[in-house]
């Protein structure tokens, strides 16, 4: 029978092959699902993998959705590499959006274009503040960061709801729970005409380079990862685990907050209860599928964005519910974790 055998050294090739293998597995399961649901699997694959890149406009939309995933995923990569389990990025995203929205609502006709930067900075601050709650409770009181950061997601969503149903509701909005649409000057400038791609994409790509430099070329980044891989070694080397915790949470909070700011001051243009759409959770998958490597995360963010757009197209073209995206996301992460086994182990045929 097949047995797992520990490899003398983790396989480098395996760590590159695993995400591709996982994607292949997900596609196979997807084809199976389409067949079971009585849909043409070829059409299904087209909707997910061809249509999102068919035209420049479509590619633009792909980038619009990939941007927040990329930003949050980068932050989470630093977190997970430091062995800090922040799974509340969704909450940090929401509070970032709220802070950004608060600043954007202050703008009026006479405000200068500097306001955009204030909006984005507010988002960063909001995300950091929200993440620092988790950091304080972990640092001072030893409270589990997984549960705390997740609970704070629900709290953040309620804060957003309170504001849009209450004090920040647009008085001219026919009683809909939403704020005014932000002034044009407070909205994130777009890069091209005829596409919704905005400067968020540029910021995210700068983030890719920045995170790569930080992790691969700085002392602090190195200390961060030693703490994640071998806590005992990090202690011996004198790397502070508290410092690592704070850096990881503040950075991922900042990235999620920035993503939230870009989202409300970009494609959405106002605060509504529909700001949280699960990017914070999907970014966890993005980070893992991208091997916690900045460049890998670019690819996985685009892939995950395809899942989102494919899900929307599947709804309009194939009459499948949009929620199919969530199924594929979950399957992809499961498949990846299973395939990752082949990095540290190899399969061996043994007679029993």
């Amino acid at each position: 029978m097949l047995k797992l055998e520990v490899r003398p050294q983790p396989s480098q090739a395996g760590s590159y092959a695993s995400p591709l293998l996982a994607l292949a597995l997900t596609v196979v399961i997807g084809i199976g699902l389409f067949v079971v649901l009585g849909k043409d699997p070829v059409r299904g694959l087209q909707v997910f993998f061809v249509e999102p890149v068919k035209s420049w406009y479509a590619v633009g939309e792909l980038m619009v959705k990939a941007t927040p995933l990329l930003l949050i995923g980068l932050g989470l990569a630093v977190c997970f590499r430091s062995n800090v389990w922040n799974i509340g990025a969704e909450g940090q995203f929401v509070i970032g959006a709220v802070f950004a929205g608060g600043v954007a609502l202050m703008a009026d006709k006479t405000t200068g274009p500097w306001i955009v930067w204030a909006v984005l900075a507010a988002g960063v601050v909001g995300g950091m503040l929200w993440a620092s709650v988790t950091a304080v409770l972990r640092d001072r009181f030893n409270a589990n960061e997984i549960l705390v950061s997740l609970m704070l997601v629900y709290v953040a969503v309620q804060i957003l709801n309170y504001l849009v149903y209450g004090p920040w509701k647009d008085p001219m909005g026919f009683n809909f729970p939403q704020t005014q649409t932000f002034e044009k000057v407070a909205q994130v400038p777009r890069l091209f005409t005829g596409s919704r791609v905005n400067i968020g994409l540029v910021l995210a790509l700068v983030g890719v380079a920045g995170v790569w430099l930080y992790l691969a070329r700085t002392y602090s980044g190195f200390a961060q990862q030693v703490g994640g891989l071998a806590p005992a070694a990090a202690r011996y080397a004198g790397f502070s685990s508290r410092r690592a915790l704070w850096i990881a949470l503040l950075f991922s909070g900042a990235m999620a907050g920035l993503a939230g700011a870009l989202e409300v001051a970009g494609p959405i243009g106002q605060l509504t209860p529909h700001v949280p759409v699960g990017y914070g959770f999907a970014a966890i998958i993005v980070a893992f599928v991208g091997r916690l490597h900045p460049v890998g995360i670019v690819f996985s963010a685009i892939l995950m964005s395809m899942f989102y757009i494919g899900g929307e197209l599947a709804q309009s073209r194939l009459g499948l519910p949009k929620a199919i995206t969530g199924v594929f996301q979950g399957v992809l992460l499961f498949a990846l974790l299973a395939c990752d086994t082949l990095i540290a182990y190899r399969l061996k045929w043994r007679k029993s």
């Binding site: 797992l4 055998e5 520990v6 389990w85 799974i87 409770l137 009181f141 030893n142 409270a143 589990n144 997984i146 549960l147 705390v148 997740l150 609970m151 704070l152 629900y154 709290v155 309620q158 804060i159 709801n161 309170y162 149903y165 209450g166 959770f281 966890i284 998958i285 893992f288 519910p321 929620a323 199919i324 995206t325 969530g326 199924v327 594929f328 996301q329 979950g330 399957v331 992460l333 499961f334 974790l337 299973a338 990752d340 086994t341 540290a344 182990y345």
Partner: protein, 306 residues
Amino acid sequence: MESTALLIAASLNAGTVLAIAALGLLINEKAGIVNLGAEGLMLCGALAGFAAVVHFGATGWGFLAGLGAGALLSLVFGWLVIWLNTNQYATGLALSLFGAGFAAFAGIPYTQAKLPDQGMSAVPFLGDIPFIGPALFRQHAMVYFAVFLMLALIWFFYRTRAGLVLRSVGESPESAHALGYPVRRIRLLAVVVGGALCGLAGAYVSTVYTPLWVEGMIAGKGWIALALTTFATWRPARVLLGAYLFGGLTMVQFHLQGMGVNVPSQVLTMMPYLATVVVLVLISRNPMWIRTNMPQSIGKPFYPGA
């Protein structure tokens, strides 16, 4: 007086959901496995239970379907973390994300469906005692099952050989392995039983507690149940008490909303989540307290040498 009795009754009912899930997770954790997928298990259990009642009628089928869904999904989880040695946190998260996605997807045909209201059955004689009757003895049978489950687990963990073996697998899998116990199979069994209970808790939510199906209806109860095992320092009786405490909190929140207290409803809605954070902080403040009570090998993979 009457309303206090009803409030207690409602709190016990709400606490039961958390108690069954948390006791299931306790079985996992005693065997050394943390299942962060509780939320996904409960959602899938809720959908399976709801669908079963829609198709077959009796609530019993719903509970059975919930148990089955929880067992099946946790079997996948268990196989991944126990045989393929995947990271328990990441795999649990995958289960939560997949469970939420799958339930939202598969549940769409059921969003409009309605279930007959489940009457609470009164215990003869006891149910007629003033105050105590309406507070304690006019409940769904599942409320008593949770108490029974807690007692059964105390007996199992601390009074039986099998329970001792289970705990040893969670404390020191190497020793258990050296003594010849099949560590991985024991862990898998614990994971499946615990997962089935999470599924059952989910089914109770969708078929009895709030008999309807809405996407994401578990609303973090799986995560609160996870926090409860820590809060209870891994003792079954404290798990049950903690669950009732949280159940009470949920109900007080509804009552305040109903009484028109001048607090924004969103503030009341966030109470259980904030309370979970507060409770975690209070209980974790003393690391020694956690460390002496926690199963020693919790979250650590075990791979028997060749």
